[in-house]
């Protein structure tokens, strides 16, 4: 099975246009971009995919050891780019994918024209002078709650709890719901996401970068976004007047506009 099937890659939009890759964050899948990506399809080549272990990716191929760090996810991004033979890519990464994209541009800068980091955080846990927004105990509790959350593990545990395999419709229902993830993978992915520390990588980002920050974001608070902007050489910093961590869902129009402005600026300068 090729990387395109493995990661449920959807290649659409204007085939001659500049390629834009949209990458989802922790907790969901490519559906997250459904209000934003279509608006780019007219004049850009739009590539969507699911991170390994998430959404429609082939979870049977997911190996917790291989995916024990963000580097492997970045390698997947490069594989997609090579498989589709994309050049001058603009990579739009939300949340953890902002860092995945950053690592990809650092490893293979020649393929990228720009990077958009939506709600990025290079490190979630507070650390001697650095404000990440979380205490280690809070992250531990998240990992624990992922184990016990009904919704989170319903997919895997439903038949056990119900002891009723005669009701497959229930399982079907859960299968088709959005943003589903195997609880074991969710836990491992959460570990990688929330325990990684990529602060040192920021200075190595060598492509034009836009940091898109929500005004009131509990996951990646504004000081964290400002920190990223300050660390990434020559980056732009745009704050959307939106609450929450997912501006592409709660304020899709504004989000799309900010991205488009950045991309068009790249066009103009190239």
């Amino acid at each position: 099975m090729g990387i395109l099937e493995l990661l449920n890659v959807n290649d659409s939009g204007h085939s001659e246009g500049r390629p834009i890759i949209f990458a989802h964050g922790f907790g969901c899948d490519q559906v997250m971009w459904r209000h934003v990506a279509p608006s780019f399809a007219m004049d850009y080549r739009v590539v969507l995919f699911d991170l390994a272990g998430c959404g429609g990716s082939d979870t049977s191929q997911y190996d917790p050891v291989t995916y024990g760090s963000l580097d492997r996810y970045a390698t997947d991004v490069i594989s997609i780019i090579e498989e589709l033979d994309l050049r001058d890519v603009v990579f739009i990464g939300h949340s953890v994918s902002a860092m995945i994209g950053a690592l990809a541009t650092i490893s293979t800068p020649e393929r990228f024209a720009g990077l958009v980091m939506v709600g990025p955080s290079p490190r979630y846990i507070d650390d001697d002078g650095y404000v990440g927004g979380f205490q280690p105990s809070e992250i531990e509790e998240l990992l624990e709650s992922l184990d016990s959350n009904y919704l989170g593990w319903s997919h895997a545990m439903a038949p056990v709890i119900m002891s009723n395999p005669d009701r497959p419709q229930l399982a079907d229902e859960l299968e088709t719901s959005f943003c589903r993830i195997d609880p074991v993978i969710a836990r491992q992915f959460a570990r990688v996401t929330f325990l990684s520390d990529n602060r040192a990588d920021l200075a190595n980002i060598a492509v034009p970068t836009l940091v898109l920050q929500c005004e009131d974001d509990a996951i990646a608070p504004k000081p964290v976004g400002a920190y990223v902007h300050q660390q990434v050489p020559g980056s732009q910093f745009v704050v959307l007047d939106v609450a929450g961590h997912c501006p592409h869902l709660s304020a899709p129009v504004e989000t799309a506009a900010a991205i488009r402005a950045f991309v068009e600026e790249l066009e103009a300068s190239s």
């Binding site: 907790g27 979380f134 709650s145 959350n149 545990m157 719901s177 509990a218 996951i219 869902l249």
Partner: protein, 868 residues
């Protein structure tokens, strides 16, 4: 018909919490029930707090990363398990439904949130989750057990085993660090041989049983469990000190016992405090048990190999010496054997002169002590000292040679690593010194073997000294050749006895000859072997070794005695055999390196029969017969070793459960080979008994090792499986990991305290159940293929043991014989079992079925009786 007013009452104060927030999450309305549950006043919440800010931290992240996107995408999310934090900091376990709905004016959306108290349900789910985690862990542990068991099957040395355990054990108990400790020579507990660089020793006082409660506990076979170092410092100060040094916060230590004595321990350490659960403690014990077993096996194999190796060398040396008919020839053999048998880098032989003043080198491979070199016996050289003191001298290292033997010429040798010197004897007389040089001090370790060699050499020198006339010696050579050939053909001790009597009588024209050999089971007793020219009734059939020593004046069992008058013969031998008509006799000791193996009496009517040449030849006969006897004895004893090895691996079964009795019997093969039959009985805490009987294909050490591995795996499975078919399925899986158990047959039986039970069999002969009235039933259901063979998956069949019933489980060695039909044998077994007494034992079953017949296959029988 319910009034709308009542409905609004339900929303306001019913048994559900209701919250309405704006799109961002800011609370716009909250019902009375939730206020009450959470202990907030409405003013604290409305317009001031977001709903997500009421959640525990994990839930907050989950809300923003997963729930909110979900709400946007599908407009609702249901039955989400969340912890809501109360005003007092306590938590409310809740199931929460969310719905996103546009405001009537369509300006924006609101979120309707319904909260159910789910404390009980969450408890239930937590239990399920716990059970699931345990199942996963126990499966992982089991896999490790397999790995360890199959690793151990290939492990031959103690080091191998320690390595296998340390490598595999780390994963058996959730991320623990597993270490093996063994006592060293000084009874200090040394951190396993796994990492020689960091050989840590526990503080020297640890082994003082009175001082250390941990030691006492381990020595009594108990576990030492420390959940948190800080809390156990009072109780186990020494262990806690060690834990602090190795950054371990919690640990469980299991004892490794050998013959009821503590020989080491296995420790599993965690970096954090850890509450050990029952399964983990069981896993620790099970791992320790299989380690013990493997260690026992390794020791047996090791000591057997070593003693066999020594014996081989000694036999070779003795054989070479038996050809040496002069002192010169003896010296040649000693010099050559020093190199190729004892592995010495250099050898020097020196003999004392007639005046007993100087030692003169007569053979030497050293440049520094050349042949012809003569030194006074008072000199402080190693040879002179050995000669003077008539005692072995050992110098392990150049430095020691310098200090103790400053005059040694070998000190000029820059390569010298160490020396061993033994006195050279002719009979009991010291005639010189034999110095062996070794390249490294480590090689100077088997002094006993050198001493055994020296004893052989002394006998040979003694024999050689009798060769006053070389011509006679050549004349007798032909006779010796005949005897040699006969002895070489001899395999068993009986063969050797026969070779001596028949050939000896012919060669020497003896009138009577009797051979006594050491009893295989009682080494203090000599038994009549074979005889010729004598009447059986006139010979003592057994005689204590000590008695013979005393009567024949044999202090060292090395020198033949020759009696030349009837009176002397009568007084010395008359009590043992009928000496009527004998005018002379020879008493020949048969032994190796001072160990008694037998004795021979040769009688002649001719008073002049024992001329010098005959004496020489008889001495040679004794030497060669001794070698042959030692070889034959090894053959006899080896069977016992195989048997011991097998028995050591099979458990001693003692049931503590009231209402049951068990008897077992293991019948080894008649040949030398170890078989692969096994059994194991496990008593579980709830009173269930799990019996496993199996048969590994093949013979020999490999089969015995596979058998040990299979038994370890079966034991581990019995501890964690809920039914026999699971044990069989587990062993099927094990067979893929451990090739040695391929095609083994296994039967697993589980009985509960009330006598009901289940069984499952993988290609194993059907057990026989004898009911109280004598009716027998063949348990031939629940069958699946031999281990490692694809086929139907294992299934269980039921059985019921009423009071007074007996279950007989056996391996095919009991019913399969080359010449007979197996079905017939099973029918025969059923008949016997049906008619047998209530307290029939496994041994009785074996005796009845096999009698004294020799068997090619070993057999195991287990009889389990429900007594009440």
């Amino acid at each position: 018909m319910t009034e709308p007013g009542e409905l609004s009452h339900v929303v306001a104060d019913g048994p559900i919490g209701v919250v309405i927030t704006d799109e961002v999450g800011v609370i716009e309305w909250v019902n009375g029930t939730l206020e009450k549950w959470l202990g907030y006043a409405p003013d604290d919440l409305i317009g001031r707090r977001t709903f997500q800010s009421l959640l525990a931290p994990g839930g907050r992240i989950y809300f923003d990363t997963h729930l909110r996107p979900l709400l946007h995408l599908q407009r609702e999310a249901t039955e989400v398990a969340l912890d809501v934090v109360r005003a007092d900091g306590d938590r409310l376990s809740a199931l929460v439904n969310f719905r996103l709905r546009e405001r009537p004016d369509a300006t924006d959306s609101i979120v309707e949130i319904v909260v159910f108290d789910a404390t009980q349900r969450r408890t239930y789910e937590a239990e399920l989750l716990h059970a699931q985690r345990q199942a996963v862990r126990s499966e992982a542990r089991l896999q490790v057990m397999y790995d360890i068991a199959s690793g151990m099957a290939a492990a031959v040395t103690v080091d191998d085993i320690v390595m296998v355990v340390a490598e595999q054990g780390n994963s058996s108990i959730g991320g623990a660090r597993c270490e093996v400790w063994m006592f060293d020579e000084e009874r200090r507990l040394v951190l396993g041989l796994t990492d020689r660089q960091t050989r840590l020793t526990l503080p020297a006082d640890f082994p003082d049983a009175d001082q250390s409660p941990a030691y006492r506990q381990l020595a009594n076979g108990g576990l030492v469990v420390i959940g948190d170092r800080e809390l156990s410092r009072q109780e186990y100060p020494i262990v806690c000190d060690w834990m602090a040094n190795s950054a371990t916060q919690s640990t469980v230590i299991a004892p490794l016992m050998a013959d009821g004595r503590l020989e080491g321990a296995i420790s599993y350490g965690f970096e954090e405090a850890h509450e050990f659960d029952q399964l983990e403690l069981r896993a620790a014990s099970a791992l320790a048990a299989s380690t013990e077993e493997a260690l026992r096996r390794a020791r047996l194999v090791h000591s057997e190999l070593r003693s066999r190796q020594r014996l081989e060398m000694l036999l070779e040396f003795a054989a070479r010496l038996s050809d040496a008919l002069s002192l010169d020839a003896v010296l040649d053999v000693i010099a050559a054997s020093s190199h190729d048998l004892l592995g010495a880098s250099g050898v020097t032989l020196a003999l004392v002169d007639d005046a007993r003043r100087n030692l003169t080198v007569v053979r030497s491979s050293s440049l520094y002590a050349r042949v012809g070199l003569s030194v006074p016996i008072e000199l402080g050289s190693i040879a002179s000292t050995t000669f003077r003191t008539n005692a072995v001298q050992v110098a392990a290292g150049r430095k020691e040679v310098e200090e103790r033997f400053p005059d040694s010429p070998f000190l000029s040798d820059p390569e010298l690593g160490g020396c061993v010197a033994v006195p050279l004897h002719r009979g009991n007389e010291v005639i010189g010194a034999w110095v062996l040089a070794f390249a490294s001090p480590a090689e100077v370790d088997d002094v006993t073997l050198v001493e055994l060699f020296a004893a052989q050499a002394a006998q040979a020198a003694q024999r050689a000294s009798l060769h006053t006339d070389e011509v006679i010696a050549r004349g007798q050579a032909e006779v010796r050749l005949l005897i040699s050939e006969a002895l070489n053909r001899a395999v068993t001790t009986t063969d050797v006895g026969r070779a001596i009597t028949s050939e000896g009588r012919r060669a020497f024209d003896a009138d009577g000859l009797a051979v006594f050999v050491l009893d295989t089971r009682n080494s203090a007793l000599l038994e009549l072997g074979s005889f010729v020219g004598l009447d059986r009734a006139s010979i003592q059939t057994s005689v204590p070794v000590d008695h013979l020593k005393q009567r024949w004046g044999w202090a060292s069992w090395t020198a033949p005695r020759f009696l030349s008058t009837h009176a002397e013969v009568s007084a010395t031998v008359g009590w043992l055999v009928d000496v009527t008509g004998w005018a002379s006799a020879a008493l020949l000791p048969l032994g190796l390196a001072g160990t008694e193996l037998g004795a021979a009496v040769v009688g002649f009517t001719d008073p002049g029969a024992l001329v010098n040449s005959v004496r020489v030849t008889l001495s040679g006969l004794a030497a060669e017969a001794s070698v042959a006897l030692a070889r034959a004895r090894r053959f006899d004893v080896e069977h016992d070793i195989a048997d011991t090895l097998q028995r050591s691996i099979l458990p001693t079964v003692e049931l503590t459960s009231p209402g049951w009795s068990v008897s077992t019997w293991y019948q080894p093969t008649s040949s030398l080979l170890v078989g692969g039959d096994l059994f194991d009985l496990t008593e579980l805490d709830d009173g269930r008994l799990i019996l496993v009987v199996g048969d590994v294909v093949g013979h020999g050490l490999r089969a015995a090792a596979a058998m040990g591995a299979l038994r370890s795996a079966a034991k581990a499975l019995a501890l964690v499986s809920s039914r026999p078919a699971d044990v069989i399925a587990g062993l099927q899986a094990f067979a893929t990991a451990a090739p040695g158990v391929f095609c083994a047959s296994v039967c697993c039986i589980e009985v509960r305290t009330d006598g009901t039970g289940r069984y499952s069999s993988a290609g194993h002969p059907a057990p026989v159940l004898r009911h109280a009235g004598g009716r027998t039933e063949l348990l031939d259901q629940g069958r699946s293929a031999l281990l490692g063979i694809a086929g139907s998956s294992p299934s269980d069949a039921e059985l019921n043991m009423t009071e007074g019933s007996t279950l007989v489980v056996y391996t095919d060695g009991l019913v399969e014989r080359r010449s007979a039909d197996t079905d017939e044998a099973i029918a025969h077994l059923r008949h016997f079992v049906g008619a047998a007494d209530f307290d029939m034992t496994a041994h009785q079953v074996v005796q009845h079925m096999l009698g004294d017949r020799t068997t090619d296959d070993d057999a195991v029988v287990v009889c389990l009786t429900r007594t009440m």
